[in-house]
């Protein structure tokens, strides 16, 4: 009653005015909420932190992998000593034979023994060389395997890194952005509804306006 008296006109106008003002207040609140969410969304999008790939600095260590058997030396020094020893032994034996007047047949036998000894040395060197080649080949094979394993490690680290970046981006900012965007959509709906309520309230009042408009002509 008091409110109708304040506004004047017919009582339905006062009621309509308060209905309309409530709708206007709701529309203004929705507009403010929309601005707030838009500001928040902008900040979230603008300051989206760069997702760091924790595997980014993984480096291939394959260059450090070498074949330790690649350049194995053959122990020729020992072989040379053995040959020298055989030669010295032969010379000493020849000197002894010469001094004691032994037969030439003995000397021949000794020379043959020395030759056998030298052949043995040659065979030992050949054996060492063969062993080294085998070791080098085995080392090479091992090195290839290690290099391949290292490359595989790098590849899977890179793939894991890409997966991490994708996953982290998806789950972190996008969640907040999507949620805020959803709220923004909802508040836009609320704003539209408030405006519709406002229009409805005003339309109701305009029916009562006839009393005011009509009075213009009657007086």
């Amino acid at each position: 009653m008091a409110v109708s008296a304040i506004i004047g006109g017919v009582s339905s106008i006062a009621g309509g005015l308060f209905g309309s003002s409530a709708a206007k207040k709701a529309a203004a609140a929705a507009a403010r909420e929309k601005r707030r969410l838009q500001g928040k969304l902008n900040r979230l999008e603008k300051n989206r932190q760069e997702v760091i790939n924790p595997y980014e600095d993984v480096k291939s260590l394959s260059s450090m992998i070498t074949n330790p058997f690649a350049n194995l030396g053959v122990a020729t020094g020992a072989a040379e000593i053995k040959i020298e020893e055989a030669d010295i032994s032969l010379a000493n034996s020849l000197d002894t034979i010469r001094a004691t007047g032994a037969s030439a047949g003995g000397a021949t036998a000794l020379a043959q023994a020395a030759l056998r000894s030298k052949k043995g040395v040659a065979a030992s060197i050949e054996q060492q060389e063969k062993s080294n080649e085998d070791k080098a080949a085995a080392g090479e094979q091992q090195m290839q395997r290690a290099k391949m394993a290292e490359e595989q490690r790098i590849q899977s680290a890179e793939a894991a890194g890409k997966q991490f970046v994708f996953g982290a981006t998806e789950s972190r900012e996008q969640g907040a952005i999507d949620r805020t965007y959803g709220e923004l959509q909802a508040v836009s709906g609320a704003q539209a509804q408030a405006k519709a309520d406002q229009t409805g309230a005003m339309t109701g009042m305009f029916g009562s306006l006839a009393s005011i408009g009509g009075s213009l002509l009657k007086q």
Partner: protein
């Protein structure tokens, strides 16, 4: 500024109290709210309209083109709709002064105007108040409030009010519902798992920060803090990596602040009512009305638009308010999730066991 604040505070308390109901002078007197805004505004318009119409019909206009008369008729025809639109906008603006978290730093003239327009006891014609709606010559309209509580008449023009509405600002700054905003923010900062959020969009009663933020021992078990609960008994509580939590939540808080600052007058209201003094939610609840910033409050007339230093300060204090009033409860006195570790135990024995473990771990 302080005078305005006190006036608003008095009006708020006066309107909310029943004091006037016990005032015999008031109850025995007449309360006349018969302001009749529309009736008074349109009282003579019929005659004016008729004169204008007659002048046009009988070729007795001021000028040959009847431009003046035609314009006046147009104004009169549009006036009723304008009046209703103006009044409804004004009522919507003024009603903010009655909101529970209204910022008392808003101009108290609007609180008085709202008391008149909503027929509050003590603001009737009998109490010396009046309000007029004037239809101006240029087609605009103005409302004038007068009365004992006004130092000078309060005049509001409909074109000014429309301009404010068009630019998304307001006569009276509404205060954002910080409690609602912060409860929602809790669910967004990424330290609670999604299953801890209830259907109402808020955290459930038993919500706990995810284990990712719990400080662990090298062996993967939680590094508990032991608290003394009296009578020689103790309990384990979880310890949280607060630096990690802060790093995680800060970008989300900053985004929230950026959203608030998109309406700076709302941010000023939030500052004055909640943020500035850093009061606790309990303190706010205990008070008759929300805390106001008092001498640290920001003025709508002097501090808007907000300078950069104030925005930075707002962000800092908003974060503190959130951390202290909303997040802290989840990082303090949290019992272990492992049932066995959550039991009450003898403090002396626990201390002995801890010392023994240290000796064993370090081969002492």
């Amino acid at each position: 500024m302080e005078k305005n604040l006190n006036k608003n505070l008095f009006l708020q308390q006066f309107n909310e109290s029943d004091a006037i109901a016990y005032n015999k002078d008031f109850t025995s007197g007449i309360s006349d709210y018969n302001f009749q805004l529309l009736d008074n505004a349109y009282r003579n318009t019929g005659r004016v309209y008729a004169k204008l119409k007659l002048a046009i019909d009988s070729n007795r206009c001021q000028e040959e083109t009847c431009a003046y008369e035609l314009a006046e008729i147009k104004h009169l025809q549009e006036a009723p709709q304008l009046s209703l639109d103006f009044l409804s906008s004004l009522i919507a603006e003024l009603s903010v002064t009655g909101d529970p978290n209204f910022d008392l730093n808003n101009d108290s003239k609007y609180t008085i105007a709202n008391s008149i327009i909503s027929a509050k006891p003590g603001f009737s014609k009998s109490d010396g108040y009046n309000v007029y709606l004037d239809l101006l010559q240029d087609g605009a309209q103005q409302i004038v409030f007068i009365g004992p509580a006004f130092e000078e008449p309060l005049v509001i023009n409909n074109t000014a009010l429309n301009a404010l509405a068009e630019s998304n600002t307001s006569l009276v700054a509404p205060t954002p519902d910080i409690n609602k905003d912060m409860l929602r923010l809790l669910t967004e900062v990424g330290i609670f798992s999604p299953d801890m959020v209830g259907e109402n969009g808020e955290l459930t009663a038993g919500a706990k920060i995810t284990e990712e933020y719990v400080i662990m021992n090298p062996d993967g078990t939680p590094d508990y803090e032991i608290i003394d609960i009296g009578n020689g008994k103790g309990r384990n509580i979880l310890k949280y990596d607060l630096d990690k939590i802060e790093k995680k939540v800060t970008p989300f808080i900053n985004a929230e602040v950026a959203g608030l600052l998109s309406s700076e007058q709302d941010a000023v209201a939030a500052w004055n009512v909640y943020i500035s003094k850093g009061t606790s939610v309990e303190e706010d609840d205990q008070m008759a009305q929300n805390a106001n910033a008092g001498d640290t409050s920001w003025s709508y007339t002097e501090d808007l638009p907000l300078m950069q230093d104030k925005k930075v300060l707002f962000e800092k204090k908003y974060k503190e308010y959130f951390m202290n009033n909303y997040l802290k409860q989840f990082t303090t006195n949290q019992l272990p999730t492992v049932q066995a570790d959550a039991a009450v135990f003898d403090l002396a024995e626990a201390k002995k066991a801890k010392a023994q473990k240290f000796i064993d771990d370090n081969n002492l």
